[in-house]
């Protein structure tokens, strides 16, 4: 664990050192090349702007209006159908929010961990779920938006399926490991 933590801590300084040095060694005009590359940063950020705004507006209205909670409540019988504890339904809002918004999901996870305790079933599950699934919907919008792709084909279904498996396996492994 601490080894991996150290790697994360050193990764960026290491890259900042080794890439320019290697480029210099290969006789690349380092500063000029860096600037040429950096120029694209602005363009890329601006290109994803409309997609970000479009998606954020829709997601925020859906969440803030209470529609997300409603959806979570509608999904409770599905959990019951699979024979899962009633207690586990507390996790549903997080599971629904996770693919939509990273900050939104972190907010819900933090609240669950505070409310139930970090070492409770819900606390552990919220932690695992937060780490093992991604903001699929959001990532697809931004990545496809950046290059002007309009037809996603099966990309969204595939990503959401992976998130669903992440959810199911999180529930299973947390039970297996801790209980």
């Amino acid at each position: 664990m601490s080894v991996i933590g150290e790697i994360s801590r050193w990764a960026i300084p290491f890259l900042l050192l080794i890439i320019p040095l290697a480029a210099f060694w290969r006789k690349v005009p380092v500063y000029e090349s860096f600037v040429t590359g950096a120029e694209e940063g602005f363009k890329t950020a601006i290109r994803i702007l409309p997609y970000l705004i479009g998606m954020l507006v829709s997601i925020r209205i859906f969440v803030d209006s209470g529609a997300l909670e409603l959806l979570a409540r509608l999904l409770e019988p599905v959990f019951a159908f699979f024979g899962l504890d009633k207690e586990l339904t507390a996790i549903i809002p997080l599971a629904v929010m996770r693919p939509l918004s990273g900050s939104g999901a972190l907010g819900i996870a933090t609240q669950l961990i505070d409310q139930y305790g970090p070492d409770s079933l819900i606390g552990r599950l919220a932690s695992t779920l937060q780490g093992s699934t991604d903001t699929t919907f959001f990532v697809l919008t931004v990545y496809f938006g950046a290059v002007g792709i309009k037809k996603y084909r099966y990309a969204l279904k595939l990503g959401l399926m992976a998130d669903l498996i992440g959810l199911v396996m999180s529930i299973w492994i947390v039970h297996k490991v801790f209980y």
Binding site: M1, I4, S33, G41, I48, G117, G131
Partner: protein
């Protein structure tokens, strides 16, 4: 499908707000979200420029190509439609490595760069290619060795063992990623014939 989801979230959100008698929430959220979009995009400019600048250096130093050659044999099996020395491979590898290390702000620029490279090999510029779909499936199901943010939350909530969830997290992501790769493989094979 995106069009449908976007519209459904919008319409249901507004209807629910109206039924709950809190229609003003819609106006407020819409404005706030638009602002947040600008903040997010502009907030990205700095890190994005930094990493794309470094990426350019790495490219010219031959790093990206070397990475692609090193991991190519493994990763190219997942991207059979790409050329052997496609510059997209290097960017894909950088993005996935940044994801694994939990360097979120480096992952996005590398990822967008990979998309741009993939787009250059796309015969239908408005339609996702199979390579793009595979890349995004990997990207969104990719594991992070240390989920630093959630560990910080657990520390703050006074967990007795804040890092105990790392193992389960890696297991759950591993399953999700494996399934994504398998399902993607079969979809790709079916659509080829």
């Amino acid at each position: 499908m995106v069009n449908a989801i976007w519209l459904i979230m919008l319409v249901i959100g507004i209807v629910v707000a109206a039924v709950n008698g809190r229609i003003e929430v819609v106006t407020e959220s819409a404005m706030k979200a638009a602002e947040l979009g600008v903040e997010t995009a502009f907030g990205l400019i700095g890190v994005m420029s930094l990493w794309l600048g470094l990426m350019r250096l790495a490219e010219e130093a031959g790093f990206v190509r070397a990475l692609a050659r090193l991991f190519g044999p493994v990763i190219r099996r997942l991207f059979p439609t790409l050329k052997e020395d496609s510059p997209a491979l290097g960017a894909i590898i950088l993005n996935l490595s940044a994801n694994v290390l939990g360097l979120g702000n480096a992952a996005t620029p590398f990822g967008l760069k990979a998309m741009q490279e993939l787009q250059k090999e796309n015969p239908h510029p408005d339609t996702a290619t199979q390579a793009m779909i595979t890349f995004l499936a990997l990207n969104t199901s990719c594991l992070t060795l240390v989920p630093a943010t959630i560990i910080a939350v657990r520390v703050k909530a006074q967990s007795l063992n804040p890092t105990e969830i790392i193992g389960p997290t890696i297991f759950a992501t591993g399953c999700a990623m494996t399934m994504a790769i398998i399902v993607d493989y079969f979809i790709r094979r079916r659509s080829k014939t």
